[in-house]
Symmetry: C2
Subunit: 378 residues, 2 copies
């Protein structure tokens, strides 16, 4: 113990100190989001889905909430800052607190890995969100597993959903959906922000989806996901490490018709690169809020269109489903997606297009999973 | 979609923007902690385990790093603030960033639930920390599972470690260690801060510990952990919900000699309350950095000492091990623990006392698990 300082974590003390700015009563028709810290009364959702944020910051000069749109908070006499936002749409949204220009996670909420850092999340209740509500149905497990990558020469994490009954029906083998996060996110995205386990538990209970494994890898590899190096590195990681690891350690059906690959945003680009060039491996592809990026990925896009032109018959034979979706016109990927689909039309590549309002956000992607999973492994 | 605003998450943009204050090269003998955000060059650990923190905050008046001791950061010309800490001891430490008086998580590091909020963590490498290093040995899974509590009438999460081979040896049943987090933490503590899976994988590979399940519940129940209401609520939750759920859904050996209960800090108090009064259920108890708190828990302590005096023979017959540990004199629980042990001596209650330097911190608790697990289920 050569280098040693005593660090008092304040663990015990901190639970005895009421959280700053939380002494107000909650109005009975207001909602405390499930993403709040345990016992925290703010943020608080009004019945019209405007959100009230509060934070104690007597020494700060300027405090803002950033929900894509920035809201200036107003200082009250006791050093508490508050703001009420516009009405916020259903489901999960990232947000940040900005204190005198420094963007951080709000200590009042749970944090989620997104925007390349731990960012705050807020869950807005939604009448139509019943499909991602925890219910009294059989539940699967989310497993966190370490595997060794021969490409990065390091241990990497993968999250895996195993469906209800997996531990009991030990002779049964299952199809596998591999599903990819977006840029600035990682293997936690679909399990946490996406509520993948809850969505699948509910679909399986209603017999709308087949029991399946869902594998959520970390697609950040090869120095970045949007360039060809990153895309190629991930394709190799899937083929050389992830798929073999999963098929060795879990009871899986190992044919292309029992493998699907899908991803959102950057993960959609990975799906195009890893999936379209490997339809011998994947019978089903899902491209959510994505499409080759103009103009930076022009060469990658053209190479793929050439490939499709030359191999249309084989791709068509192999692929049982190419499912493409956006969060409609407010989705930052909308134009790229539509441009790509126009090219698919020109090349007579079959696909299914679906859209759901909400832009480039998790509420849309949860809904994508809810609609995509029932189409798989028929 | 009555209430709707468009939120651009900045996901795509954020991965293209280099992180503030991270343009400096890393000196070859400096260490980038594994807790840094992907690609982040700060915090940076010098060879003598002093830590350099940097953050861009041109508009802030005062910026500090709080590692138990507060370090004032110094502003440089470009609005970057920096500080170099004292030498920091081995392993995992919580820390905070303070921007103009507002305590938040540092966006440069991973966040962990502790101090009743998402707090930053930094992992200091340690020559003796080999026992919690990921190695090429068979690995178990960490599972995240939802169960329904009849006490809270809500779904709650529990983390479960299943050992290597659990999926393959489908006839084998396993003993179970139930292990509890501290105040201001939750079911994630032992899995994330504690590296429970890695520690057990290594112990099992060396045949130092028996393959076992480790169940990590959320002990925050009944309105707070230190009062009798909270302690009683957790004891009931264990008996009525958690143990039955685990034994129904996993292949467990269901006798007291195949059940252990341990906890750190508040979790140690829970262990005393749930464990000492239920030695018919648990053959092994571990009390880490804990002990009845003087004077607030005087009545609870005296009631337990009375119980032990009256039931010494039964408790002694039931308990194969009562293992008590502290982080030595710098541990905030040290005096409470020593007072309790003096009382145990007076009552002729057998226990094993162990200590390890580091105070009231996770490096100590990881080491506790490393030393406690091999003693179980002999």
């Amino acid at each position: 113990m050569k280098f040693f300082i005593t660090i008092v974590c304040g663990i015990v003390l901190s639970v005895l100190i009421p959280f700053a700015g939380m002494s107000q009563a909650v109005k009975s028709d207001n909602i405390i989001p499930e993403t709040n810290m345990r016992g925290g009364k703010y943020p608080q959702i009004l019945p019209n889905h405007h959100v009230v944020f509060r934070i104690k910051a007597p020494d700060a000069k300027k405090v803002q909430i950033d929900l894509g749109k920035k809201y200036d908070m107003v200082k009250e006499g006791d050093g508490t800052w508050t703001t009420t936002t516009d009405s916020i749409s259903e489901g999960f949204h990232y947000y940040s607190l900005i204190v005198d220009g420094v963007t951080v996670a709000d200590p009042a909420s749970e944090s989620f890995y997104g925007m390349s850092r731990m960012a705050s999340g807020i869950e807005i209740p939604f009448a139509g969100g019943d499909y991602y509500a925890l219910k009294n149905v059989p539940h699967g497990d989310i497993r966190i597993k370490n595997y060794y990558s021969t490409i990065t020469k390091s241990w990497r994490k993968v999250f895996i959903y195993t469906p209800p009954g997996y531990d009991v029906n030990t002779a049964k083998k299952y199809p596998v959906l591999y599903i990819l996060h977006g840029g600035g996110e990682d293997e936690r995205g679909w399990a946490q922000q996406g509520k993948t386990d809850v969505i699948l538990d509910n679909l399986i209970a209603q017999k709308k989806a087949k029991p399946m494994l869902i594998v959520m890898p970390d697609a950040n590899i090869g120095g970045g996901g949007f360039g060809e190096d990153g895309l190629k590195a991930f394709a190799n990681e899937m083929k050389q490490n992830i798929i073999p690891f999963i098929e060795k350690n879990y009871r899986t059906l190992n044919t292309s018709n029992n493998r699907a690959l899908a991803g959102l945003s950057m993960g959609g680009i990975n799906t195009l690169y890893t999936g379209v060039y490997n339809t011998n491996l994947f019978g089903y592809l899902g491209v959510f809020s994505s499409g080759w990026i103009a103009p930076s990925q022009k060469d990658l896009a053209n190479a793929q269109y050439d490939y499709l032109q030359k191999n249309r018959a084989m791709v068509e034979k192999n692929l049982k489903l190419l499912w493409v979706s956006t969060g409609m016109k407010e989705d930052i990927a909308y134009n790229n997606c539509k441009t790509m689909l126009a090219k698919f039309d020109e090349l007579k590549i079959k696909y299914t297009y679906s859209e759901y309002p909400g832009g480039h956000t998790w509420p849309v992607w949860r809904n994508n999973l809810y609609n995509f999973a029932p189409l798989l492994f028929k």
